[in-house]
């Protein structure tokens, strides 16, 4: 277990926080850490900055993320990692497509490689890490395009050479269903699943025998297309198969 000092913590919106910390680990864009609240749980968290200083950006979902949000500069965070593979270096025209907290993971890339950023959220207030030049979609139209970020992005796919996508599984699934599988762009997806170990041994994050934590988290379109379970079913903490609402089985 590693530990590091919190440099700063900033509230990005009503329930999203960016915590900057001082650590000498070297990480690549797209990698994640397992962050631990001593005495409490350990959860996977993408690095939203992989150059010094490092950062994570998280939504307060439950106990662990709520506790992380109470940390102050000088406090310690505990973690292990970084884990997972990383986004490849792009060439040509680049697009980033993020939904939900997906932008956190993409942000480490955006800081390194210029590109057009498509960001989606339910409402204006749910957005975070947003800059003026980003193309924004909100479900309620309170900012930018009214609709999903998938609706906003899909028509533009043919303009790009590299596309990086991160977001909730149903969003990613709908994007994959709607795009031209033969588009010239190389499309990479950062996936998220329940993760207990983070190091590829517990099987809790596996999709058709592919471990999100160790074989991923980043997969190219063709790899995701082979995952027949993707967007259809996932595993609960017990390992039981659970189907996504509205998933075509």
């Amino acid at each position: 277990m590693l530990h590091a000092k919190v440099i700063s913590i900033k509230r990005d919106n009503k329930d999203v926080f960016t915590l900057v910390f001082d650590s000498k680990i070297s990480a690549e864009p797209g990698q994640f850490i397992m962050i631990w609240v001593p005495g409490g749980k350990e959860i996977p968290m993408s690095l939203s900055s992989t150059s010094n200083p490092l950062a994570i950006t998280f939504r307060t979902f439950g106990e662990t993320t709520r506790t992380l949000a109470t940390l102050k500069p000088g406090d310690r965070i505990f973690f292990r990692g970084p884990y997972g593979n990383s986004y490849p270096k792009p060439t040509g025209k680049v697009a980033y497509v993020g939904g939900g907290t997906g932008l956190a993971s993409l942000n480490s890339m955006i800081l390194k490689y210029d590109g057009d950023v498509f960001a989606g959220a339910r409402t204006k207030d749910d957005l975070f890490l947003i800059r003026d030049e980003y193309k924004v979609a909100t479900d309620d139209g309170s900012l930018g395009f009214k609709g999903t970020v998938v609706d906003l992005f899909v028509p533009h796919l043919s303009e790009y050479n590299y596309v990086f996508v991160c977001g909730p599984e149903p969003m990613v699934k709908s994007l994959i269903d709607r795009i031209d599988k033969k588009a010239k762009a190389k499309i990479f997806f950062s996936l998220e699943r329940l993760m207990k170990c983070g190091v590829g041994i517990c099987d809790s994050c596996s999709i058709n025998g592919i471990r999100v934590c160790k074989d991923g988290t980043i997969f190219e379109l063709q790899e995701v297309l082979k995952m027949t379970e993707f967007g259809v079913s996932r595993r609960t903490e017990s390992g039981k198969i659970e189907f996504f609402a509205n998933a075509k089985r």
Binding site: P38, D203, S206, I207, G209, G239
Partner: protein, 306 residues
């Protein structure tokens, strides 16, 4: 090239490298991947009567010499398990690990497993023992014997009895497993991990099971003791991360070996790495088949049960 096929009880296996229970075997997809990656056989994550979420994270903690885990036996329960494996194509190469708190639970699980078309169970006897305070089912010699005898009487399954090293006398557990087709040695060793800067336990469950390189010398001793005293078919497990480790287990009497924590260091390459190594060793040391080295270090005169 030497033959590395082996036989454990009546189970003929093309190669002696088996996936241990609890590592990358919670989903049928991963089990198929191991078989395709070169495992001779696989053992499933331990299945109980009803669904269990397991313990909250942290459920693993790496230490210098291996791994501590307290995953807490998460499993979908036997109903969901049977459902998931309905059309599973590799039932004969898959040993279903089961756990329970009583003889009846073990028998019920075994019958369900048999009805689902499997023919081998591995008994994970590490469940908390309701009668004994703080002890495990697998530490109670009489209970172990009764569980095995009852499963034998009421099913046609082959039984692998997986023993705990957390006892004064593992040989008496092996003797209690007389009717089992094979013994699997060893499960994890009870241990604890501490994080000194937060002064908190490394696992949510405080106490966990220790696996990986650090337990190999203890596992070897268990295999040696049990093989010498019983001569039974043994599957060796505990800290095997290289082919040299595997050879050590064979020389002391194991007919096959399982790998678990090795995935941390070698991932899916572990199967071919170990198989290639065994092959090269047999060739260069002048043996024509794996069987020729099984137990050779254990003096036949000193070994009972043959």
């Amino acid at each position: 090239m030497a033959s590395i096929s082996t036989k454990v009880g009546n189970f003929s296996i093309e190669n002696p490298v088996i996936l241990a229970s609890g590592i990358l075997d919670e989903t049928s997809g991963s089990i198929l991947r191991s078989l395709r990656s070169g495992a001779g056989a696989v053992v499933t994550k331990s299945i109980g009567i009803s669904e269990r979420a397991g313990y909250p994270t942290p459920v693993i903690s790496e230490v210098k010499t291996g791994l501590l885990n307290a995953v807490g036996l998460p499993n979908p329960g036997i109903d969901n398990f049977v459902e998931e494996y309905k059309d599973f194509p590799e039932k004969k190469r898959t040993v279903v690990s089961i756990f329970g708190g009583s003889v009846e639970e073990f028998v019920t699980l075994s019958r369900r497993v048999e009805a689902a078309g499997f023919d081998k169970v591995e008994l994970n006897l590490s469940c908390p023992h309701v009668q004994g305070v703080g002890s495990e089912v697998g530490q109670d010699v009489d209970l172990v014997e009764e569980i095995i005898n009852e499963i034998k009487r009421r099913t046609n399954l082959q039984i692998w009895s997986k023993l705990t090293p957390n006892v004064t006398d593992i040989v008496s557990l092996a003797k209690a497993s007389e009717k089992a087709d094979a013994l699997v040695l060893i499960n994890t060793i009870r241990a604890i991990g501490v994080e000194i800067y937060s002064r908190k336990f490394a696992l949510s469950n405080v106490v966990g099971g220790y696996s990986g390189p650090g337990i190999k010398p203890v596992a070897l001793r268990a295999v040696y003791d049990v093989y010498k005293e019983t001569g039974k078919d043994i599957v060796g497990v505990g800290g095997i991360t290289t082919w040299e480790d595997a050879i050590e287990f064979f020389l002391l009497g194991a007919r096959a070996i399982q790998v678990g924590t090795a995935f941390l260091y070698d991932d899916y390459r572990i199967y071919s790495d170990i198989k290639d190594g065994i092959n090269k060793y047999l060739d260069s040391e002048g043996f024509s088949k794996l069987e020729d080295i099984v137990g050779v270090m254990v003096n036949n005169a000193a070994r009972k049960g043959d």
